[in-house]
């Protein structure tokens, strides 16, 4: 493990039982995350994009040790998070914190904002009482809230202000890693920009490392250095941001880009080639072969039988697709015509 890697996820699997098919039927298992590996360098942002059921949020929760890990391991710096239990895990939590999607449900409605922000400090017994009070004041300032805000209850804040509270709370223990699970998707567009800029500034000022989960490619491009695209519990493509958006190699990445492309001629011609039919299938007992084959405009017999492995497609660029040459060529010709 190189020195500047902060987070390393190796072959992570999270499976949930989902009852049986009928009273005496076969046991059903949700393969929420099914063999995911990646590394996140210090002070960078690693984006994970995908649709519902892709396992991106479960991956985030597994890193936070909030979801049960079936197999694989997660290393933060020198620590193997997967083996930590009880008090050791609790103590380790000061090094990794989380920003939740919905600021309306992520704050305990019965506690004052100040108590909520310093709760991690109190629980993990970081610093003296005076230190914590001081830290609270500076945290509020850092996220752009007045000191009086500490006395208020969550319901007295707007959505954007609540998300600032959630961010302040995540920052309180001076963690190395912050996992952001769709931190702006519940907010109004004008407020989204405020929060995204705040996250960017905090990263620069505090040397933070982010794992950033989102379904919005525009947001991911704005914030992330590396991006992994997930589909049904697996990474189908991963590349540095600039490289990915310059020329994706997986048909699913192309279809996500099509949906997010600015309106106009390019979007129309991309749609002709890459738009998808149907919806993501259920992650319960997923099909053999390429999991994307059922919706893929390029799929053939081989795709339905043989599972494509994630393989190198350029420097730092990985893709899991049998038809990647054909897909890239189709994409390139459309982009060139535009």
């Amino acid at each position: 493990m190189s020195n500047d890697t902060l987070l390393e996820v190796n072959d992570l699997k999270v499976h949930f039982p989902a009852g049986r098919a009928g009273a005496f039927g076969q046991r059903l298992t949700v393969h929420a995350v099914d063999g995911v590996s990646f590394r996140v360098p210090r002070q960078s942002t690693f984006g994970i994009v995908g649709e519902s059921g892709s396992g991106k949020s479960t991956t985030a929760q597994a890193i936070m040790r909030l979801a049960p890990i079936t197999a694989g391991n997660i290393r933060l710096g020198e620590t193997d998070l997967t083996t930590l239990r009880g008090d050791a895990l609790r103590k380790a939590r000061r090094h990794f914190q989380m920003i939740f999607q919905d600021p309306y449900s992520a704050l305990n409605p019965r506690r004052r904002a100040g108590d909520l922000i310093r709760e991690p400090l109190d629980l993990l017994e970081v610093g003296s009482a005076d230190d914590r009070a001081e830290r609270l004041e500076s945290l509020l300032r850092v996220v752009g809230l007045p000191p009086e805000a500490a006395m208020l209850f969550p319901h007295q804040f707007s959505g954007g202000q609540r998300q600032r509270l959630v961010i302040a709370r995540a920052l309180s223990t001076q963690p190395d890693l912050i996992v952001c699970d769709e931190p702006v998707s519940a907010l109004d567009v004008a407020i989204q920009a405020q929060i995204l800029n705040l996250l960017k500034r905090l990263q620069r000022d505090h040397g933070l490392t982010y794992v950033f989960i989102s379904h919005d490619l525009g947001v991911v491009q704005y914030l992330c250095d590396q991006i992994a695209v997930m589909y049904l519990g697996q990474i189908v493509e991963q590349a540095p941001s600039a490289q990915l958006f310059a020329g994706p190699r997986h048909p699913y990445t192309w279809s996500l880009m099509t949906a997010a492309a600015p309106p106009g001629g390019l979007r129309q011609s991309l749609k002709q080639r890459f738009s998808l039919r149907g919806e993501p299938p259920s992650p319960i007992n997923p099909p053999a072969g390429c999991r994307f084959a059922a919706r893929c405009p390029f799929a053939d017999e081989r795709c339905r039988k043989e599972t494509p492995q994630l393989s190198v497609a350029g420097s730092g660029h990985f893709v899991a697709c049998h038809k990647t040459e054909e897909v890239s060529a189709a994409g390139r010709s459309i982009m060139a015509a535009a």
Partner: protein
Amino acid sequence: MNTAPPVPPALTPANETVAIVRISPLRETFRLFVQNPTGMIGACLFGMILLLTLFGPTLYEIDPFDIAGAPFTSPDAEYWFGTDYLGRDILAGILVGGRATLTVGAVAAIITLAIGIAMGSLSGFFGGMLDTTLMKITEFFQVLPTLLFAMVLVTLFGASLQTITLAIGVVSWTGVARLTRAEFLRIRELDYVKAATAAGAGSSYTILRVILPNALPPIIVAAAFAIGISILFEGGMSFLGLGDPNVMSWGMMIGQNRNYALDAWWVVVMPGAAIFLAVLSISLIGDGINDALNPRLRKR
């Protein structure tokens, strides 16, 4: 464009920051409760009953066990509520008996809540085998006929006020346990509970400081009704002759006089009315708290 604003013109403050009003959820609930007519009628009624019970006996100095006059004297200027089959003053009985009745109600309700919340929160929070075991125990208590079970307990351990109170508490906690468990199951999945775990909270902190305060509203309402039900329960037990004969209580008055109810209505109607008013006032308070906790529900 003609703008005719119906409100006086006022500029919105630049960069509208947080309004610095300290409203705690508790104080807000209290404010809503005070504004709620149902709850306030209940509170006033209960307040009166409480005052009469506390200070009545010192103002009306007649021993409720003393034979004060002729048996079955109907209510008149001297004996406002009449006398019972032994000629004891019913008003004195009601004033003194309130203490025992209300204490039984309150203590039994506390026992109900303590057992119910403990069972429900452990079961709802940890789930799995513990949940299955605790819920089987709860079901066992639920299928027992409560009155019969309480009677068995009292017969076994003697008809003192303490055992009666304990018996009532022991047979009536199942509802609270189920309610608490349901609330824990719901709240356990909310993001702020995950957030607490991510912040380093252990199990006891999460149960006591994070989930329980948020689960309390329906439990508080259940507590109010539990007091009312316990009072009725005590009345019912005494009516069946299982009251503590050495302590004056409303239930005991009804129980001892029940055979004469058709000849002298007041001997049971007077203590019965006391029980009715007490239970009614507590129910109204419960409704009031319920409305105050769900202001949106109230508007409909």
